[in-house]
C-alpha cells in the first residue's frame, strides 16, 4: 500500500476493486465502514454483489476479466472532461500522451457493452474519483489473478497518476495483501528476481554485493518464478523444498501438477500439518506455528511487526528458521554465528537499505513502516510524499485483452474463485476450528437463481462443476450475489478443490495464475440430500429480494 490502514477512515472516496474486503480483510473493511459512516463515497467494482457493495454508492458489477475496459473508460471520462491534474502530470510523470491516445477509444458507452456497467455510472464514478482529493484505490487478487493482472494494475495506476491522488494522506494505490507476510516474504527476497529489499538479481553489482556478503559466488542464471516452476515440475525441476506451502491445494490446474509431481526425484515438505503435498514428499519436517516462534511479519501497509513465541511447539516440532539453519549447515554452508532471530534480521537489514533502520529492538513496542533508511528515521506512513518516489511516475498505456478462457457453448459459465470470511486459503488451520467448520462446513458454488432454474438445480443440492481441466462436486448455493453467467466458489476445501478447475495460464510479467476467470459448466447430480448453505457473511440486499 502506498498509504496506511489507519488513514482509510479519513478518506473521502474509495474505489474498491477486486477485493471482497469484508471477508478477506475484515479489519480494513471496518475502516472503510467507518469512512462510509463519516460520509465518504464508496464505489465497489466486483462481478459479485458483496457485503461492501451493499453499502456502496456505486456497485460497478463488471463482467469478470473486463477490468481494463472499465479502468480505461474511467480514464477516458477523466481526460474527456478535463478532470486530470495537468500540473501534477507535467511535474511528476512520463508517458501521459500515450495513455491519452489509448483510452480515447474506450468510451463509457462501449465500456457498458463489454463490462455490463452502465455508462452513466462509469461517468459518475470517474468524476467523483477525479474531483475528490482524498481518494484512494483499494484492490487485491481480483485485479492481479488474471492473465492481464499486470495490465490491470497499470490501468489502475494510470488513474492515480493522472489525478495526482498520491503522496498525501488517505489516498494512493493500495493493494491489500492476502497473507500475513506476503509483503515480508517479498521484502526478504523470496522471489527469483529480487534479493532482499527489492535489489534486482539481474543486476551484476547487486549480485557482487551478495556474493561478498554471503561468501559464495551468486548464480547468474535467472530464476524461475512459481508459475514457471510449477509448469516445469518433472522436466526442469527435479527436486523441491516446500516450506509452509501446500502446492497441491493452492496452485491452479492442480491435476496437471499432481501428475508431474510423480516425476520428481526428491521433495521436502516442511509444515505444521501433514498437508496434501506430503503425499509426494520424501521427507516431512515438523515446523512450529506462528505462536511458537519469534520473528517479524510485514503487513500490507509495509509495517514490520514482531511475532513472539508464546508457547513451546508440540513434540519435536521446530521453528522454520532453526530447521533451515540446520539444513544449510549440513549442506556445508557456513552461516555467521547468529545468537538469535534478531541477528538474522540485522543481517538482512545491513544488506537492504530500505530496512536499514529497522531492528527487533526498535519494533519492540510498535511496528515500523518501511522504508526506514537509518536507525533514527521514523516510519514512512505514506509513500511518494512530495513527488513520485523514483523520479517520474511512468504511465503505461494498456489495451484490453480477453481472459485466457471465455464462456463458450460447451462451458457456458464463467467460474471465479475466492476466499470466505470463515476459512483461510487451504484451510489446514481454519477447518481445524470447530466453530468455523460449523458455520461453514463444506464447499459450495454460488449460482444465480435464473441459471439454477434453467439447470433444474435446487438450493442446497449437489452439483458437479466441470471445466476443461477437472470436475469437482459440491453444494449449490442459489444466490443473487453472482450474475447470471457467473458462478463462484471458495478454494478452501480439499475434498472439492477449486484449483482442479482453474487454469494455470499466467500473467506474462508476474506469472500469477488466472484464478478469477475460466469457462465452466454445472451438471446436476442425483443426490437426495439437500442442505441449507449458509451464505457467508453477506445477506442478499433487500432491493434484490423484492424483485423476482
Amino acid at each position: 500500500m502506498t498509504n496506511s490502514i489507519p488513514e482509510i477512515r479519513d478518506t473521502d472516496f474509495m474505489l474498491v476493486i477486486g477485493s471482497n474486503t469484508s471477508e478477506a480483510h475484515p479489519i480494513i473493511a471496518m475502516e472503510m465502514k467507518q469512512a462510509v459512516r463519516r460520509g465518504a463515497k464508496l464505489a465497489v467494482a466486483d462481478p459479485r454483489a458483496i457485503w461492501m457493495s451493499s453499502i456502496a454508492d456505486w456497485h460497478l458489477q463488471i463482467e469478470a476479466g473486463s477490468d481494463v475496459w472499465l479502468l480505461n473508460a474511467l480514464a477516458h471520462v477523466i481526460i474527456a472532461e478535463g478532470l486530470e491534474d495537468k500540473e501534477w502530470i507535467a511535474e511528476n510523470t512520463e508517458g501521459f500522451a500515450a495513455v491519452k491516445e489509448t483510452v480515447a477509444s474506450y468510451t463509457p458507452e462501449k465500456a457498458e457493452e463489454v463490462t455490463g456497467v452502465p455508462a452513466d455510472m462509469i461517468r459518475e464514478v470517474a468524476r467523483a474519483y477525479a474531483t475528490t482529493r482524498k481518494a484512494g484505490i483499494y484492490y487485491t487478487l481480483g485485479i492481479t489473478e488474471h492473465t492481464t493482472g499486470t495490465d490491470n494494475v497499470y490501468a489502475l495506476s494510470n488513474l492515480v497518476l493522472m489525478t495526482g491522488h498520491l503522496g498525501g494522506p488517505s489516498m494512493g494505490m493500495n493493494p491489500l495483501r492476502g497473507q500475513n507476510n506476503v509483503q515480508g516474504a517479498n521484502d526478504s527476497g523470496a522471489t527469483p528476481v529480487f534479493y532482499p529489499g527489492y535489489q534486482w538479481a539481474k543486476d551484476e553489482e547487486v549480485r557482487a554485493k551478495f556474493s561478498a556478503a554471503w561468501g559464495v559466488e551468486q548464480p547468474d542464471v535467472p530464476g524461475l518464478n512459481l508459475n514457471e516452476m510449477m509448469k516445469k515440475v518433472g522436466t526442469q525441476i527435479k527436486g523441491m523444498y516446500l516450506m509452509g506451502e501446500d502446492i497441491v491445494m493452492s496452485e491452479p490446474n492442480v491435476g496437471r501438477l499432481e501428475k508431474a509431481l510423480n516425476d520428481i526425484e526428491f521433495m521436502v515438505v516442511q509444515d505444521i500439518f501433514l498437508n496434501e503435498s506430503c503425499r509426494y514428499a520424501d521427507v516431512v519436517l515438523p515446523a512450529a506455528a506462528f505462536a511458537e516462534k519469534d520473528g517479524v511479519f510485514t503487513n500490507t501497509d509495509r509495517r514490520v511487526q514482531r511475532v513472539r513465541k508464546a508457547i513451546e511447539p508440540p513434540g519435536q516440532a521446530r521453528a522454520d528458521w532453526e530447521i533451515i539453519l540446520d539444513v544449510m549447515d549440513r549442506s556445508g554452508y557456513e552461516n555467521p554465528p547468529y545468537e538469535g532471530i534478531a541477528d538474522i534480521y540485522a543481517e538482512m537489514a545491513s544488506l537492504a537499505p530500505k530496512f536499514a533502520g529497522i531492528s527487533h529492538e526498535r519494533i519492540e513496542d510498535d511496528g515500523l513502516q518501511w522504508p526506514v533508511h537509518t536507525m533514527d528515521a521514523p516510519s514512512t506512513i505514506y509513500l511518494h510524499k512530495g513527488g513520485v518516489l523514483r523520479g517520474k511516475g511512468l504511465f503505461q498505456a494498456v489495451e484490453y485483452r480477453a481472459p485466457f478462457e471465455q464462456a463458450d457453448p460447451e462451458y457456458p459459465l464463467v467460474l471465479s474463485t475466492g476466499r470466505t470470511l470463515y476459512h483461510y486459503n487451504a484451510a489446514t488451520q481454519t477447518r481445524r476450528v470447530d466453530g468455523l467448520t460449523e458455520k461453514q462446513p463444506e464447499a459450495f458454488i454460488e449460482i444465480h437463481p435464473r441459471t439454477a432454474r434453467v439447470l433444474s438445480v435446487d438450493d442446497g443440492a449437489m452439483v458437479d462443476v466441470v471445466t476443461r481441466r477437472g470436475r469437482v462436486r459440491c453444494r449449490a448455493m442459489v444466490s443473487r450475489q453472482v450474475k447470471r453467467n457467473t458462478i463462484w466458489m471458495p478454494f478452501h476445501f480439499a475434498e472439492a478443490r477449486a484449483n482442479l478447475l482453474t487454469t494455470d495460464a499466467g500473467d506474462a510479467v508476474t506469472g500469477t495464475g488466472e484464478y478469477k476467470v475460466c469457462a465452466a459448466r454445472i451438471e446436476p447430480v442425483d443426490d437426495p440430500d439437500v442442505r441449507n448453505v449458509f451464505p457467508g457473511s453477506y445477506q442478499t440486499p433487500v432491493e434484490l429480494t423484492a424483485k423476482q
Binding site: 479489519i27 522471489t191 527436486g239 516450506m243 521436502v268 470470511l421 500469477t512
Partner: protein
C-alpha cells in the same frame, strides 16, 4: 482572533469545537471513569458514572456526551461528583454478580477495577433483574451471561457501528432489558460474523469466550504475549493469553483501541481460529519415506541428512537449477530471508519464490 478557553478543575484549556468534556479532560491528563464508553462508538451516556459538574447547570453532565463550550467551568473532582461515581458503582453491582471472584472468573471486570479506585456507596441488595439469556445459542465462540450484563449496550453498538452487522440488539425494556438476537436465534443463524468484538468491549464479562470459560482460568491469571496475527495481510496485533503451566493458548484478545493498527478490533479468524495450534493433527516428529513408500517417523538427525542428500543428489544429477524452493508468505521475514539465502548461497539457484506469487 483570541483563543477561546474553558476551565477544568481550575486549569484553563483551549476550546476545540465538537470536543466532549471527556476528551478535553484527557488532554489535561484528568481521568474520568466510564463504563459504557468506547472512543470508537457514539456515546450514549447510559451508565452515568462519568457525570461531572458544569457551572450553571442544575444537573451534572455526562462527560462522554456533553460537548464543551467556550468559558465552560467544569469540575471533575468534588464530593458531589465522587458521590455519584460511588452511587453508580453500587447501583451496577446490585444488578450484576457482586462476588468479585465469581465476577472475575473469566474476563476482567471494570466495575471492580473502578471500585478499587473510586470506592462504592456500599453493597446494596441484589435486584436480580429478570433479564433473559440465550442458553440455546449453539455457536462455539461467544457466550452471553445475562447475570453480568449491565445494559451498557457497548456490544450492540459495536456490532452495529463498528462491525456493521447488527446481529445483536437491546431487547425488551426496563428491568427486562437484555441483549438478544432476532427471535433469540443462535448467533450462527444471524448476520453475526463472530468477530467477538462484543466480548472485547463488554466491561463485565457478560459477553465471554465459550472455550475460555470452559477452560476455567480467569484472564488475569493468564500471561498476555503480544504478537502479529498469522492470517491476512492487515497485520492485526493480538495478545495470546497463555496458560504457561499447561503450555496452552487459552484465548486471544485485542490490544486496547487506539494502540495498534487494528484499533482494538479483530475478526473471527484472528480472535477465534486458534484451535489448530493445539490440534491433535499437528506434525510432532520428522517423517521420511522408507523403501516401501510409507512415511515413517524418524529422528531429526536422519531427516536432515536425508534432506541434504536428496537435494544435493538432484544438484549432482541435474545441476542447481533443477531445484525449486517454495517458501511461505505465512512464515516470518527472517525465515524467508534464510530460505532464499539457502537457495542462492547453499544450493546456488535463484529458483526461489514465495507461495503468494500466484
Amino acid at each position: 482572533m483570541s483563543e477561546q478557553t474553558l476551565t477544568i478543575n481550575g486549569v484553563s484549556i483551549d476550546h476545540r469545537p465538537g470536543e466532549t468534556i471527556l476528551e478535553a479532560a484527557r488532554r489535561l491528563d484528568i481521568d474520568i471513569p466510564t463504563l459504557c464508553h468506547d472512543d470508537r462508538i457514539e456515546p450514549v451516556a447510559a451508565c452515568r458514572i462519568c457525570l461531572v459538574e458544569v457551572e450553571g447547570s442544575r444537573l451534572m453532565q455526562p462527560s462522554c456526551h456533553s460537548k464543551t463550550q467556550p468559558d465552560m467551568v467544569i469540575t471533575t473532582e468534588s464530593q458531589r461528583v465522587s458521590r455519584n461515581r460511588q452511587f453508580s458503582l453500587s447501583l451496577h453491582m446490585a444488578d450484576t454478580v457482586s462476588d468479585r471472584t465469581i465476577a472475575e472468573d473469566a474476563n476482567p471486570n471494570r466495575l471492580f477495577e473502578l471500585a478499587d479506585i473510586h470506592g462504592t456507596a456500599g453493597l446494596w441488595p441484589h435486584v436480580d433483574s429478570p433479564r433473559q439469556g440465550r442458553p440455546m445459542d449453539v455457536n462455539r465462540f461467544i457466550h452471553f451471561r445475562e447475570d453480568r450484563c449491565i445494559g451498557c449496550a457497548l456490544c450492540t453498538r459495536y456490532c452495529d457501528e463498528i462491525e456493521g452487522v447488527t446481529a445483536i440488539t437491546l431487547a425488551h425494556r426496563g428491568a427486562l432489558t437484555t441483549i438478544s438476537t432476532a427471535d433469540e436465534l443462535s448467533l450462527t443463524d444471524t448476520t453475526c460474523e463472530l468477530c467477538g468484538g462484543c466480548i472485547a468491549v463488554c466491561p463485565t464479562g457478560a459477553m465471554t469466550e465459550k472455550a475460555a470459560l470452559a477452560y476455567g482460568k480467569p484472564e488475569k491469571e493468564l500471561e498476555k504475549i503480544r504478537t502479529t496475527c498469522n492470517f491476512c495481510g492487515v497485520g492485526c496485533q493480538l495478545d495470546l493469553n497463555v496458560d504457561r503451566d499447561a503450555n496452552r493458548i487459552v484465548k486471544v484478545t485485542p490490544p486496547p483501541p487506539g494502540t495498534t493498527v487494528n484499533d482494538g478490533n479483530l475478526c473471527v479468524k484472528g480472535r477465534f481460529a486458534n484451535d489448530f495450534i493445539h490440534h491433535k493433527d499437528r506434525l510432532t516428529e520428522p517423517l521420511v519415506r522408507d523403501a516401501d513408500g510409507v512415511l515413517r517417523p524418524t529422528s531429526w538427525d536422519e531427516a536432515l541428512d536425508r534432506v541434504v542428500e536428496g537435494l544435493q543428489g538432484v544438484v549432482t544429477r541435474h545441476g542447481p537449477h533443477s531445484l525449486g524452493f517454495v517458501s511461505s508468505s505465512r512464515c516470518t521475514g527472517e525465515e524467508n530471508y534464510l530460505f532464499q539465502k539457502m537457495s542462492r548461497a547453499a544450493f546456488g539457484t535463484h529458483n526461489v519464490h514465495q507461495c503468494a506469487a500466484t
